[in-house]
């Protein structure tokens, strides 16, 4: 019988009590004695040359301690990029310097020019208004295609062009792909945009730098998904601070969705300025500032083509994508449109030949990096829109066309033509489950009821595959990653049997404190309440890579399993000594060690006490204590997949789309906490539906961000998203991690956009608007109405 607080139980979250009572400790809740405040004076033009800065009046104002400019950071490095992509000719990408404060030029609206540190925020803000910055405005480049024209203004004068890289994958397949297209019975093509988004975790970014002159040591409190990565990047590449003198703490963090992975200039600034001023320095981003300084997401323009034979088998796929990098390379930006996008272009299908071309482009916009899903939503959107379009053009059922081309359950492990090997999956099962839950039989009656009210009803589906649990370090190293992508855990068993777990993963809403405790409780058979999970502080957690890419359970959880197994192995040796038996005869069950086939046993706490009070202990063979650390480096990605169905109603008078029901049937492998998994899918769906219907990050042609606040950027609200039915009963466990888990954090955001758009196209076609082949996201009422009536 499963433990009621172990693996598979919907245990309520222990972290909720502090969040619900106002006792969470977020970075902005940290106030240090003698703290000062920084306000960044940011560029209000997209492209310009800095001719001069006069901060003398500001520096003379009440409470102002110092105005920093780029000159103060002459000895510091630039903000580093963590991934080097090699282009299709074998050359490294172009990699411009990303200074902490603008050097010589400003390159996007929001680029920080000066930093004013004062006794209060108000004084810092007031003083920033007194700084005179002489900027010669330059013509900005905002559009990606324009950016690659020979006469386009250059974002970085020292680069040869605005092209970061021109990447081909798999370059050696290109000729064969083109040949297949020439022989194809049918070719279907689609041009589309994956709209630029802003992650918008509800907690804006915050950094507090502190310096201890007596120990020459630094502490940075920051809103990060991966404090160890920040410590490594900032310490080694920007400020030249060795790890033992730099502690990075990411306490409670109010959501991330990718945007808090990266090392940002403000973190380095606060850390450095605290040493200069010998006072703590705090920065709290406003929401308006977040829109022009947090890394954005998506922003691809793509042409995709599918070749089919006469029997409607997919025989080749090729794509050409422009991917916006923004003005500088954010930490993982180059990897998103390449290795997290190109490798997923097989989707769920047996397309034997695939060629993906990506041109990454610098523009005078905020840097673009991973946002929930990161590359995989872009891949899925293209494939699933195109397959739907193919079915319409061929006059076949889009569901049957998918089934026909799916990789079959017996064909796993499956080597795709784009490098990755899917370990497990059953796409037919998730599709069938989704269709069952969607009540397709009742659709026609529901459609007629809508029609009676003058509304158009449509049903759209999408199937997705994603690669999670990033990633085998040796593989990503070959692909250009400048980091390993293992995860770490230390399991410290205390003398009386309670357990403190230190993980390199970071929880910013995912509930690790609950789920990781479930895993350990299940393995040892003790009460989950006797286990505490610690995360987010580099001073007490082993070097870990953090939380993103749905990797926490698959990689971080595996590290915990590995460390716990080491603990159990040692504990069995101690138990064997206490029970005067051989270690191989010791069994652990329900928190009790017993000698197989006998009634001799000792409790968990009897063993742990012996480990720390080793009076009766095999000291000659075994060290005292019970504490183990493990690093887990995955041997493959994990491959969650699922089928999504979306039923919408469209008002032909206005073009407004309402989501009526959304069915998600996912295969996440094994599940530790179903309640949390469901919550993760809900959140992902809301973000994906937000992308499909509401959200859009818009620049004008002068590089001004038009959608720079919640007045202009349409976040999904409580009556925009509804009717979620979530199922995760189709399980094909991951074959290469000890829990058999795959990851569930991003699925909703990956699978939902194409399902929504497919549903809208379906509604329009059923109503006779068959000239509408595609509408770019977001499907706002005006866009839908224009497409219908165009």
């Amino acid at each position: 019988m499963p433990k009621d607080d172990g693996i598979g139980a919907s245990v309520k979250r222990r972290e909720d009590t502090r969040f619900l009572t106002g006792n969470g400790k977020y970075t902005d809740d940290i106030n240090l004695r003698g703290q000062t405040y920084v306000h960044f004076l940011r560029s209000d033009v997209a492209h310009g040359r800095i001719k001069g800065i006069d901060a003398s009046a500001a520096e003379a104002m009440d409470g102002v301690l110092k105005v920093f400019t780029a000159a103060d950071f002459a000895s510091a490095g630039g903000i580093p990029c963590g991934w080097q992509v090699t282009d299709r000719f074998g050359n490294p990408m172009q990699e411009p310097k990303h200074p902490i404060l603008a050097e010589g030029k400003v390159r996007h609206v929001g680029d920080p020019i000066c930093a004013v540190v004062a006794e209060t925020y108000a004084q810092a803000r007031d003083a920033a208004e007194a700084i005179e910055v002489d900027i010669e405005e330059l013509e900005p480049v905002v559009d990606m295609v324009r950016a690659l024209e020979p006469d386009a203004p250059k974002v970085h004068d020292d680069l040869t062009s605005n092209l970061c890289y021109d990447w081909g994958f798999v370059e050696d397949n290109k000729a064969a792909v083109n040949e297949a297209f020439e022989k194809a019975a049918h070719v279907v093509s689609l041009e589309l945009t994956n709209n630029r988004l802003v992650a918008n975790p509800m907690e804006p970014r915050v950094a507090v730098g502190d310096y201890d002159p007596w120990g020459d040591s630094h502490t940075l409190y920051t809103t990060s998904q991966n404090p160890h990565v920040i410590r490594l990047l900032m310490g080694a590449f920007v400020l030249n601070i060795p790890e033992h003198k730099l502690r990075v703490v990411a306490p409670d963090v109010g959501g991330g969705f990718g945007s808090k992975i990266y090392h940002y200039a403000e973190e380095a600034f606060c850390t450095y300025a605290a040493k200069v001023l010998k006072r703590p320095v705090k920065w709290t981003s406003s929401r308006s500032e977040a829109f022009i300084s947090d890394a954005h997401g998506r922003d691809h323009k793509t042409k995709i083509e599918l070749a089919l034979d006469a029997d409607h088998n997919f025989i080749a796929l090729r794509t050409e994508t422009y991917a916006n990098m923004g003005a500088y390379l954010s930490t993982f930006a180059p990897s998103i449109p390449t290795w997290l996008h190109g490798t997923l272009m097989a989707g769920n299908y047996k397309t034997p030949l695939i060629y993906v071309n990506v041109k990454a482009v610098f523009t005078n916009t905020v840097p673009v990096d991973a946002y929930r899903g990161a590359g995989r939503p872009e891949a899925t959107f293209q494939i699933e829109r195109l397959v739907d379009k193919a079915a319409r053009e061929l006059g076949v059922d889009p569901i049957e066309l998918r089934r026909k081309n799916f990789i079959k359950p017996e064909e796993f492990p499956y080597q795709t033509p784009v490098a990755v090997v899917y370990d497990t999956g059953n796409y037919h099962a998730t599709l069938d489950k989704m269709l069952e839950l969607a009540d397709c039989a009742g659709f026609e009656a529901r459609r007629a009821e809508s029609a009676a009210r003058g509304k158009l009803r449509g049903f759209g589906i999408a199937h997705y595959i994603e690669a999670c649990g990033i990633a085998p370090s040796n593989l990503v190293g070959q692909l250009g990653a400048r980091a390993g992508l293992y995860e770490s855990a230390s399991v410290r068993v205390n003398a009386t049997g309670s357990i403190s777990v230190y993980t390199g993963s970071h929880s910013h809403g995912q509930g690790h404190e609950t789920t990781f405790a479930q895993v350990v409780a299940d393995m040892i058979g003790v009460d989950a309440n006797s286990i505490e999970i610690h995360h987010g502080d580099t001073s007490n957690t082993p070097m870990g890579m953090g939380t993103y890419g749905s990797r926490s359970l698959a990689v971080g959880g595996s590290a915990i399993v590995k460390a716990t197994n080491k603990v159990i192995d040692k504990a069995k040796k101690i138990a064997a000594h206490l029970l005067e038996a051989a270690p191989e005869d010791i069994e652990l069950k329900d928190g009790k060690f017993s000698v197989a086939g006998t009634d001799k046993s000792v409790d968990w706490s009897g063993v742990t006490l012996a480990a720390y009070v080793p009076h009766n202990y095999p000291l000659e063979d075994l060290e005292p204590g019970l504490e183990e650390t493990a690093f887990y480096d995955p041997s493959n990605f994990t491959y969650p997949s699922g089928a999504y169905g979306c039923e919408i109603e469209l008002d032909p008078e206005t073009g407004k789309i309402d989501i009526l029901r959304f069915i998600a049937a996912d295969d996440f492998g094994n599940i530790v906490n179903p309640m949390i998994v469901e919550g993760q899918v809900h959140g992902g769906l809301a973000q994906g539906i937000g992308q499909a219907l509401l959200e859009n990050c818009v620049y004008d042609d002068q590089g001004q961000l038009l959608s720079g606040s919640y007045m202009d950027y349409a976040m999904p609200r409580a009556d925009d998203v509804r009717g979620f039915t979530v199922d995760h009963s189709c399980i094909t466990p991951c074959t290469h991690n000890p829990l058999g888990v795959k990851g569930c954090g991003e699925a909703g955001a990956i699978g939902s956009p194409p399902a929504v758009v497919n549903a809208a196209i379906d509604a329009l076609h059923r109503a006779g608007h068959t000239h509408v082949k595609h509408i770019d996201m977001p499907l706002t009422p005006s866009r839908v109405w224009a497409a219908m009536n165009g």
Binding site: T17, D29, A122, E203, G255, A718
Partner: protein, 161 residues
Amino acid sequence: MGKVTMTVNGRARSAEVEGRTLLSSFLRDGLELTGTHVGCDTSQCGACVVLVNGQAVKSCTAFAADLDGAEVTTVEGMANPDGSLGRIQQAFQDYHGLQCGYCTPGMVMSTAALLAENPKPTEEEVRHYLEGNICRCTGYQNIVRAVMAASGQDVGALAAE
């Protein structure tokens, strides 16, 4: 600067404030009640909602100096007298109506205001009322379930459409 006195969570509290000091800053910085969060600067997100004389107010939009003598309730004042989770808080935990927790104080306070004026809201009424509170994590479905549960209604009845 001027002195402002309010009754916050049942206790008289005073602090010196500038004319431009927002209620949210008064609570967070002046009184160290950091449960009230600030998620935007355009009065859109609702993370900062508190009750002022029983009404839901976005505390980032109110000047502390205007509220001398007011009765304010923040999320820190929502637990039962014995310290256990209050009815609304408990429902949010039971129905997984929070993830990162950042919007949660505002959600709890808006829910308190809703249920005070409409003790048995329909799902539509809940969704409409919470339009001024943005959550980026949950997709709202479990928040709506939590509010329905806090009002003593059957959450199984949440319809697909």
